[in-house]
């Protein structure tokens, strides 16, 4: 079949069942945008390319399918960089297509030329540059294959403009072969047996679940294993939602802003099963003081994560679902149902003690009560995204995630401005469920121009701004660790978010009480246009508990 490079790309994308692309055109990608018109693929026009990647990322995390975004060369491509790095840190399958100057211009510092391959190599699973039309089908196939298999991650495909225009014979049926690509899905049985041995002898087992459980869709297996072991389950930020947070064995978040009961119990465990995670510094805090007496089993699909951040006793390289089910199958015959009941009692007692201390029903307009109210109003399958900072940690602590892929947040990179475009992407993937961005005023301002996209493309989401008029997390650190010397954190009362929303054609409301919030929030969920709810809160509000930097998990500052 003879096709232009641009038409060939559209054909290759339809082979991959791509239904939506988030992007913004420019000079060096115009042939592709022209071909897009006849492709039947929906294009969501952003107002800044950073939002296009975050949308593709939100789409991917909500659906489990790869998200696709597109930008022109030079500044279009470099505007993608933050979003690509974000997807890389959180192992999200995003595929970015960029226009490039024509082949004969590459290296000449041509207008809008940027070395996007050089720039993105360390923040992608792979960056491809196609040099001929014939390479397009195979490269697209390889890009989707690499992005979605093993430990997923972003892939970039750079296409020079003359390649987009050139016509050549192309073949779509050639298989992809990447010699150096190792898929470590199947766990080694000897390693699995070592893990089983440790767990079958454990008196106080603990499961720490990470994003790998979500990627592998291993929720049911995880729940069954936890129940079989009577093991409490804590999660990393990426793992939130992998285990229902209303389950008696659920402890919620572990780490710097982990729940007190989760941080205490993980340190009391005699065997820790850590699944699908990389022991980030925000999860384990001080490495030397992390579970010193605990036997640690680490399992991850990426072998380079084993012993990268902390030494472990047993490691199993493999897909989280396969590892969990392998362990459970072996343990079923070895364990009695009522084993570890002393540990179960300890877990329940500590949960009750901590919760009794924190559970004073408040009717004030404070983040914990707002988030608990949202949980009561939203259906279980509603999707929540967050921005980064205090809003994110409040959401992680006080908004219970009850089903998988319903809590979407920027974990590794901590990208302010992620939540709103990610919410739009999630809504495109799951139009049937409500999608809410839990925002701070600082973060929302970073990508607020996505209001234009959400309104003009009719992708309605709800934005709840916990508006403290400061860069809250930085202000909190300045309060605790810099003697309250506030430096560059005060944002003031600008903009007026209600008017800002209205200026974009969205709805905007400000609420003054929790009751008012409830009714405004409920009605926003039923609207077919985006609503921004401005919720004024105190600038002095802290996110607690917190493990101050440089401390072990047990040194917790409590409310």
């Amino acid at each position: 079949m003879a096709l232009s490079g641009a038409k060939c790309l559209m054909e290759a994308l339809s082979h991959q069942k791509v239904s939506t692309i988030f992007g913004l055109p420019g000079g060096q990608i115009m042939p592709i945008y022209d071909a897009l018109l006849d492709s039947g693929i929906r294009h969501v026009l952003v107002r800044h390319e950073q939002s296009a990647v975050h949308m593709a990322d939100g789409y991917a995390r909500a659906s489990g399918r790869p998200g696709v975004c597109m930008a022109t060369s030079g500044p279009g491509a470099t505007n993608l960089v933050t979003g690509i790095a974000n997807a890389h840190m959180d192992s999200s399958p995003v595929i970015a297509f960029t226009g490039q100057v024509s082949r004969h211009q590459i290296g000449t510092d041509a207008f809008q030329e940027a070395d996007i391959i050089g720039i993105t190599t360390p923040i992608t699973k792979y960056s491809f540059q196609v040099r001929s039309v014939r390479e397009i089908p195979g490269t697209v196939k390889a890009a989707f294959y690499v992005a979605t298999t093993g430990r997923p991650g972003p892939v970039l495909v750079d296409i020079p403009k003359d390649v987009q225009m050139e016509v050549d014979e192309v073949e779509f049926s050639d298989p992809v072969r990447i010699r150096g690509y190792r898929l470590n899905g199947d766990p080694n049985s000897a390693d699995l047996a070592k893990a089983v041995k440790l767990l079958s002898d454990a008196e106080r087992p603990f499961i720490l679940a990470g994003g790998g459980v979500r990627i592998s869709n291993a929720y049911e297996e995880l729940r069954k294993l936890a129940e079989l072991l009577s093991a409490p389950v804590g999660t990393t930020l990426m793992g939130k939602g992998c285990f229902p947070e209303d389950h008696p064995l659920s402890l919620g978040l572990v780490g710097m802003h982990g729940r007190t009961e989760a941080n205490k119990l993980i340190m009391e465990a005699d065997v820790l099963l850590a699944v699908g995670l990389r022991f980030s510094d925000r999860t384990i805090c001080k490495v030397d003081e992390f579970c010193p007496k605990t036997k640690i089993i680490h399992t991850d699909i990426d072998s380079s994560e084993i012993e990268k951040n902390t030494p472990v006793d047993v490691s199993v390289v493999g897909d989280a679902g396969k590892v969990i089910s392998g362990i459970r199958t072996a343990l079923v015959h070895k364990l009695r149902k009522d084993e570890n009941c002393e540990w179960y009692t300890r877990v329940q007692q500590l949960k009750e003690t901590v919760q009794a201390k924190n559970n004073h029903e408040e009717n004030e307009l404070k983040p914990p009560s707002i988030l608990k109210k949202m949980r009561k109003i939203l259906p279980t399958d509603a999707i929540v995204t967050t921005e980064v900072g205090q809003n994110q940690m409040w959401a992680a602590l006080h908004f219970a995630a009850l089903s998988p892929r319903t809590f979407i947040t920027s974990g590794g990179l901590g990208t302010m401005g992620f939540g709103f475009p990610a919410a739009i992407g999630a809504k495109v993937a799951r139009p049937e469920v409500p999608v809410v961005d839990i925002a701070g005023d600082g973060s929302f301002a970073m990508t607020e121009n996505s209001l234009a996209t959400s309104v003009s493309e009719r992708i309605p989401v709800v934005v709840v701004i916990l508006n403290n008029r400061v860069l809250g997390m930085v202000a909190q650190w300045q309060r605790y660790f810099f003697k309250r010397r506030y430096s560059a954190v005060e944002l003031g009362t600008v903009p007026d978010f209600v008017k800002l929303a209205q200026a974009y054609g969205a709805e905007g409301c400000r609420v003054e009480s929790l009751d008012e919030f409830s009714s405004v929030f409920k009605s926003a969920l039923g609207k077919d246009v985006t609503t921004v709810i401005d919720v004024p809160i105190s600038p002095e509000e802290d996110v607690l508990p917190m493990v101050p930097p440089g401390n072990g998990l047990e040194q917790i500052l409590e409310a």
């Binding site: 391959i117 050089g118 360390p122 540059q129 010699r179 150096g180 072998s303 012993e307 990268k308």
Partner: protein, 172 residues
């Protein structure tokens, strides 16, 4: 953990940009590579890189795992120094203004089994092949009469016996 020198051999796709991807990973992950040599192999699509780095056991393991994670890397192994042959080639330009200096250099070159490959009234260019230690020793001697310039290839190495880098074995 104690530090020592590791020699890592790796087979990579032989195409543009691969050296950048490998070198970029070293920088990104904070590995300090002392030498790197690259060349084609018997397979048209593959090139072989040999790297040396100083570090502990943990670093070497991480380096191998990070290399294996790269899509352009087909096989990687840490070469056991006792069980490998390693060589480096150096071209050394030495000042040889008088006959005394000139004959000393030629003597040393013979002792080191090197070759004089270029001569001019003021200088000689010597080719030395051997382990890095041997080349270091020759350079020290050359320095005493007047070292002008050095070009070294970096170490390249192969395991002794019939094992090859891509034969099935646990490389970590």
């Amino acid at each position: 953990m104690s530090e020592r020198t590791f020699i890592v051999g790796t087979l990579v796709s032989h195409k543009p940009g691969v050296l950048h991807k490998v070198a970029n990973m070293f920088r990104r992950r904070n590995f300090n590579i002392e030498s790197i040599s690259v060349g084609p192999t018997d397979e048209r699509d593959l090139a072989r890189m040999t790297m040396t780095l100083t570090g502990n056991e943990w670093m070497a393991k991480q380096l191998v795992k990070q290399l294996e994670k790269l899509l352009d890397v087909v096989a990687t192994t840490v070469l056991d120094e006792k069980n490998s042959v390693l060589r480096e080639l150096a071209l050394i330009k030495v000042a040889a203004a008088d006959s005394k200096a000139r004959s000393a250099i030629i003597d040393w070159t013979n002792i080191f089994r090197g070759q004089v490959i270029d001569a001019s009234p003021e200088s000689l260019v010597i080719e030395i092949t051997g382990t890095p230690d041997k080349i270091d020793a020759f350079i020290e001697l050359a320095r005493s009469v007047g070292l002008k310039e050095i070009a070294r290839t970096g170490v390249t190495a192969l395991e002794r016996g019939s094992d090859t880098i891509d034969s099935e074995k646990d490389v970590t």
